[in-house]
């Protein structure tokens, strides 16, 4: 059993001969992993379904998703090891150096973790400059307090912030401003409409760039889609879907422009009470943060084209910019480390471990076969559309990250080319599915949390009822877009 055969993690995966994302990581196997029986595969499939159900019921069982998935990761690793499915052994580094590494370490996609960690610290420090609140308040004042203009401005701001920051942060910034500004304008009766439309727009904005949402990062990494290529492909859809969503929101919730000059003058006076400079502690840091944010976006966009940087990857870029920004708070950096969303980070790490075990247990192969039945040979329009809608459905009832991670593995393993519309079906489906239910995405959950915080009645079914026209419109547009323009 203790062979010195060099095998790839991808070869050990149970998806035939297809390579996997971690194919460059080699293990000096000390034993060959066993071929699982169908019964074992089904047992692990049940474990995976149980984990997905537990995640869907996260709110009901009052447990953080990091703990839920970590527990499943522990069980999966023990079971996988006991059944001889896991390939233990040393890991060969690119220079040929052998190192001992626990089996669960190379299971984690550290590139994704680095992007999330670096981006969140970078955005957190940048927000201390007052830049995002400055933009938000300037837009509020530019609207003159007119509800119709405010919906457009906040809607566009949500999309841009979701694209540049992340969906949850965008929803928190725009949603909290909405609560304060509509309260000031005496338009509390429109708060539900604004928060709902903004929540739905976060998932549209999350489609704009490669780093706008975690499913994008996972799919982009798996399919080797560059930042620029992703932006060029996704942006026309984002523009159309944004306009359509805002127009529908204004129509369904009867959000009208102010009719008289007196109303406009009164609203203008009220929004003038906002001071956009209030949150700026240091004008220098404000300017520095603005420049750094632009540089960050530019560098991320050009990562694949920059010498040296292209080898280090986007995760390095995010961490490097975060480090540079932390210089401003050099004696208090620990406060930013404390503020990191460890729930999210540990969730990801555990999830990658679970998926790795599922890969060895051939569960992903099994799901791949099921998807194969759905999409046929991957060339048909029907299959592409079905995959998009299926991904959207599953994304609406559970976390879209495991879904994206699993589908990325399956599509990679089946040798799906980078220009295949199937990747985009997963991207659009995983992101837009979050708009069907309040638990479909973290940002819609934040929107619902804000709605409840302001004591506005909205049940689960109520959300689905109100969101369904938007989700149907967005998914319809997405299917047409992927089939007509991307395929």
């Amino acid at each position: 059993m203790f062979l010195q055969a060099k095998v790839t993690w991808g070869a050990l995966a149970l998806l035939g001969s297809a390579g996997l994302a971690q194919a460059e990581v080699h293990a000096e196997a000390q034993h060959v992993a066993a071929e699982p029986s169908a019964a074992i595969t089904y047992c692990f499939a049940v474990l995976l379904v149980a984990m997905i159900l537990s995640l869907a019921l996260e709110e009901k069982i009052h447990a953080k998703k990091s703990l839920i998935v970590a527990l499943y990761a522990v069980v999966a690793l023990i079971a996988g090891s006991a059944m001889g499915l896991m390939p233990f052994g040393s890991v060969t580094l690119p220079g040929g150096h052998l190192i001992e590494m626990p089996v669960y370490i190379p299971a984690v996609d550290w590139g994704v973790i680095a992007i999330i960690l670096g981006s969140s610290i970078f955005v957190d420090v940048t927000s201390r400059s007052g830049l995002f609140t400055w933009i938000a308040v300037r837009l509020t004042k530019a609207s003159g307090g007119d509800p119709r203009k405010l919906l457009w401005y906040y809607g566009l701001m949500t999309v841009v912030f979701s694209a540049v920051l992340n969906n949850v942060t965008a929803m928190i910034i725009v949603g909290s401003l909405t609560g304060v500004s509509l309260g000031k304008l005496g338009r509390e009766n429109k708060l539900l409409a604004f928060l709902l439309v903004e929540g739905l727009l976060t998932n549209i904005g999350g489609l704009l760039t490669l780093i706008s949402s975690v499913p994008n990062i996972i799919i982009g990494n798996a399919a080797s889609i560059s930042f620029v290529q992703f932006f060029i492909t996704a942006s026309p859809y984002v523009a159309v879907a944004t306009v359509a969503t805002i127009l529908l929101g204004a129509r369904l919730f009867d959000i009208r422009a102010l009719a008289t000059a007196e109303e406009r003058a009164e609203a203008q006076t009220l929004v003038e009470a906002f001071d956009e400079n209030d949150g700026i502690e240091s004008p220098f840091f404000f300017k520095f943060a603005t420049v750094m944010l632009l540089l960050f976006i530019l560098t991320i966009a050009m990562t694949s084209a920059l010498p040296v940087i292209s080898d280090l990857g986007m995760g390095f870029v995010a961490l490097a910019f975060a480090t540079a920004m932390l210089i401003r708070y050099k004696s208090d950096v620990d406060q930013f480390y404390k503020a990191i969303d460890w729930d999210l980070i540990i969730f990801f790490m555990s999830l990658f471990v679970v998926i790795n075990v599922m890969e060895h247990a051939r569960v992903l192969g099994l799901i791949g076969q099921g998807i194969g039945l759905l999409i046929g040979d991957g060339e048909s329009s029907m299959g592409t559309g079905v995959l998009l809608l299926t991904a959207a459905f599953f994304s609406s009832v559970t976390d879209n990250i495991p879904l994206a991670a699993m589908l990325a593995k399956i599509l990679s393993a089946s040798g799906t080319p980078a220009d295949s519309p199937l990747w985009w079906s997963v991207v659009f489906g995983a992101n837009l599915g979050g708009n069907i239910t309040p638990i479909g995405s973290a940002s819609t959950l934040v929107a619902v949390t804000l709605i409840h915080k302001y004591k506005l009645p909205l049940s689960f079914a109520g959300f689905v009822g109100k969101a369904l026209p938007y989700a149907a419109l967005q998914l319809g547009l997405a299917v047409i877009y992927v089939l007509v323009f991307v395929a």
């Binding site: 927000s127 609140t133 910034i173 906002f274 001071d275 209030d278």
Partner: protein, 286 residues
């Protein structure tokens, strides 16, 4: 990562209701005394001279009330109602010898302050010798005092209207150090809150809105062409002691404060102790 409350706080903090400039004017002034009519007229003339250079009292109709005109609080209130005046000027302990003892306002002033909506200018007693040497010489330095200097448009407008051209308007906000320390003591016993961080942030926060409001007052008064200088006194301390110190240090000619409290029949917060203690200068009680 971000919390909803974090950004709500940021946006609430960015919301500063600016000062609304609307300087009041008094077309008629009722000077209530317990003196004989000729002495009452002389006292009224002195008050008129004191306020004559201010925009509040630009040639108002002055009506002097003698002590014979009323003998009860009911009659005084009827008299005030009938006069339909914009400003009442009077002094403490009408129809009483209690003015010799600095412990009360007297029943007439008490009732006037609480039962009428008309601002009352409380002057040093004409018979007393405790008036400051600069009292009633002119309203060159006027101070508006409050423990919550935010959206106090009426208070600031009256105070500004009482500053004679080229004078100084002090806007004072004293945050109670004693109350602050009490809350901080409670915070120091909560393990999850960093006490020093809480102290620093709360101190900064409590004074920030008052500073911002003073800035908008100065800007709007300047825009409105009001000829005065705005100065701010925004700090922690003991209310009564600080205000007494300010009056002496800055040689304040007139102090303006709120009196009414929607939640109680009694006088608002510090108004009563200030009105009792600060007897040496005129006080405008709104």
């Amino acid at each position: 990562m971000f919390q909803v409350d974090q950004f709500e706080s940021v946006f609430r903090s960015a919301l500063h209701d600016p000062f609304e400039l609307l300087l009041p004017t008094a077309e008629s002034m009722l000077v209530v005394t317990d003196l004989a009519q000729d002495e009452a007229n002389a006292f009224a003339a002195r008050v008129g001279a004191f306020l004559g250079k201010t925009s509040l009292c630009d040639a108002p109709a002055v009506h002097a009330v003698s002590g014979e005109a009323f003998s009860s609080t009911t009659k005084l209130l009827e008299l005030v109602d009938a006069s339909d005046t914009d400003l009442i000027c009077t002094y403490r302990n009408l129809h009483s010898e209690a003015w010799r003892y600095p412990h009360s306002l007297g029943e007439y002033l008490d009732v006037l302050l609480q039962r009428t909506d008309v601002p009352v200018l409380v002057l040093p007693h004409p018979g007393a010798d405790y008036a400051a040497d600069h009292a009633l010489q002119g309203a060159d330095v006027v101070m508006a005092v409050t423990d919550h200097l935010e959206q106090e448009h009426r208070l600031v407008n009256y105070a500004a209207a009482l500053v004679q051209p080229g004078g100084t308007l002090w806007l004072a906000h004293v945050e109670s150090r004693r109350t602050f320390d009490r809350y901080l003591d409670a915070i120091s016993k909560i393990p999850t809150i960093d006490t020093e961080d809480a102290r620093r942030r709360m101190e900064e926060r409590l004074l920030k809105d008052a500073h911002a409001y003073v800035n908008t007052c100065a800007a709007r008064l300047a825009q409105g062409g009001v000829n005065l200088q705005v100065q701010s006194l925004v700090e922690f301390g003991d209310h009564l002691a600080e205000y007494q110190r300010y009056v002496e240090t800055y040689r304040v000619d007139l102090l303006v404060m709120n009196t009414k409290d929607e939640d109680q029949l009694a006088m608002h917060g510090l108004a009563y102790p200030l009105a009792v203690e600060l007897r040496q200068i005129p006080l405008l009680m709104l």
